[in-house]
């Protein structure tokens, strides 16, 4: 028997149990109160799931990337906020694991992620950049005494107040161009988060993502060695778009499952000899869910393909276009499927207190097209499609 496969299967089974028994139970309260899903995140912590992707020698379980993606799907089905927090944390873990370049401080840090099950948030959005993650205003600034400081105006920082560490993108130095960026890993005890605005959004309310002015003081060794542009192309962007897509697929799948449960209950009471109208709507909806699932899995498969060997293919424009397509497509499809599920369930789906309620699903799924705006990605792809040749 293959030991690796067993480890992955066990993790997934445990995450599924946490999703069913804990995340699902608190999902409505998390949503209603716009509060952090601490019960589910604590359970994932206790299971060691926050570091499962790390290699065994760093205290992880060497879990495959596909398994992480499947875990995001399972959590997303039961509580989208939990799924999204888990996904965003894993984006930082995968990114640091792939780009620590054997630097002693960073590898020791990853060991602490495993030992202490530290939760990592990211501070990549910034006022004044037009939503372009590839540009920064705030800069790492040297001080006479040695450490580096920064001050960044971030319009959204998901679970910034709940995280133990923050991965912050910044200009490399005060005189650096906006595109000359680095990523810095700062501990919560090294940063000050000054709230800038409130948190009462339409959906994904448990991610707790208000704006902050983030001030920090870090040491040189906390700066990831490769440029942020390289880290984005190689890991952060494709991994984000894949794991988010799995969360959105989870939301859409649960909306579909609720619609199916509604139709089964209705069909059981029907005396008609032909399928009831809701059953026909469900059949059409299943044809909409299927391409969302296909695109989500295809995006994952393409990443593994591009990342093969030295991963050089991830630096191509064709790769950039591919993972932008994935994000735009899945984030457009997921809310449409949720709305289709509402069409199946009717009033029973519209009510917040019915077992077939779809409201939270629709609201959560609508966040997808805004987190990295789809319009912004279309602008980028419009450029890339002019020159990229081997577009899939």
């Amino acid at each position: 028997m293959n030991v690796t496969v067993d480890r992955d299967a066990t993790l997934l089974q445990d995450v599924r149990a946490i999703a069913d028994d804990i995340a699902a139970v608190h999902a409505d309260d998390v949503d209603r109160r716009a509060r952090f899903p601490h019960e589910a995140i604590d359970a994932l912590r206790e299971r060691g799931a926050l570091s499962a992707f790390l290699p065994i020698e760093l205290g992880g379980e060497d879990i495959a990337f596909e398994t992480l993606a499947a875990a995001c799907f399972e959590l997303g089905r039961r509580c989208a906020s939990t799924g999204m927090v888990f996904a965003m944390h894993q984006i930082q873990v995968v990114t640091i694991a792939r780009h620590h370049e054997d630097e002693p401080w960073l590898t020791a840090y990853l060991r602490r992620v495993a030992d202490e099950q530290r939760l990592i948030a990211s501070v990549t959005s910034e006022l004044g950049t037009g939503g372009d993650m590839g540009r920064s205003v705030a800069a790492l600034t040297p001080t006479d005494s040695g450490p580096l400081t920064f001050e960044k105006q971030a319009p959204t920082v998901s679970y910034g107040e709940q995280a133990q560490d923050l991965l912050v993108s910044l200009r490399r130095a005060p005189d650096a161009e906006p595109t000359d960026q680095v990523a810095v890993l700062a501990g919560a005890d090294q940063v000050q988060l000054e709230p800038a605005g409130s948190w009462d959004p339409l959906g994904m309310r448990g991610t707790c993502s208000p704006g902050f002015t983030v001030r920090g003081t870090v040491d040189e060794q906390q700066v990831l060695p490769r440029p942020f542009s390289h880290i984005c192309a190689q890991s952060m962007v494709p991994v984000s778009h894949i794991l988010w897509s799995h969360v959105w697929l989870g939301i859409a799948t649960d909306a579909f499952d609720r619609a199916r449960a509604f139709v089964r209950a209705s069909a059981a009471r029907s005396s008609s000899t032909a399928p009831i109208p809701a059953a026909l709507r469900l059949s059409r909806l299943s044809c909409a869910l299927s391409p969302l699932r296909a695109e989500t899995y295809a995006g994952l498969r393409d990443f593994l393909d591009f990342a093969r060997d030295d991963g050089e293919a991830l630096n191509t424009m064709a790769a950039a276009v591919r993972f932008n397509q994935l994000k735009v497509t899945t984030s457009d499809m997921a809310p449409a499927i949720c709305q289709g599920a509402l069409g199946v369930c009717g009033m029973m789906g519209y009510k917040n207190d019915s077992p077939f309620s779809i409201g939270r699903h629709i609201r959560d799924a609508l966040s997808g097209s805004l987190m990295i705006s789809n319009e912004r990605l279309h602008e980028v792809d419009a450029d890339l499609l002019l020159v990229a040749k081997d577009v899939r």
Partner: protein, 82 residues
Amino acid sequence: MHDTIRALLTQSGRLTTDASTLPVDADLYTAGLTSHGSVTLMLAIEEAFDVEFPDHMLTREVFSSIGAIAAAVAELRPIPAA
């Protein structure tokens, strides 16, 4: 070839620094080349040198300096008949 690339950089690259005095090995992204600027530059270079960059050459690294671009173009251009 370096001067042609410099001229195209001035036209299409939208750098924040003066392309005409930029050293051959200077990092263009550090000099302010944006992703939109790099796309316009690639199109201009393909047209000026009558080459087509295959996908594996459409990377950040290949367009990171005047020297790197020149090397890529040289690799693609057919050897002129003697």
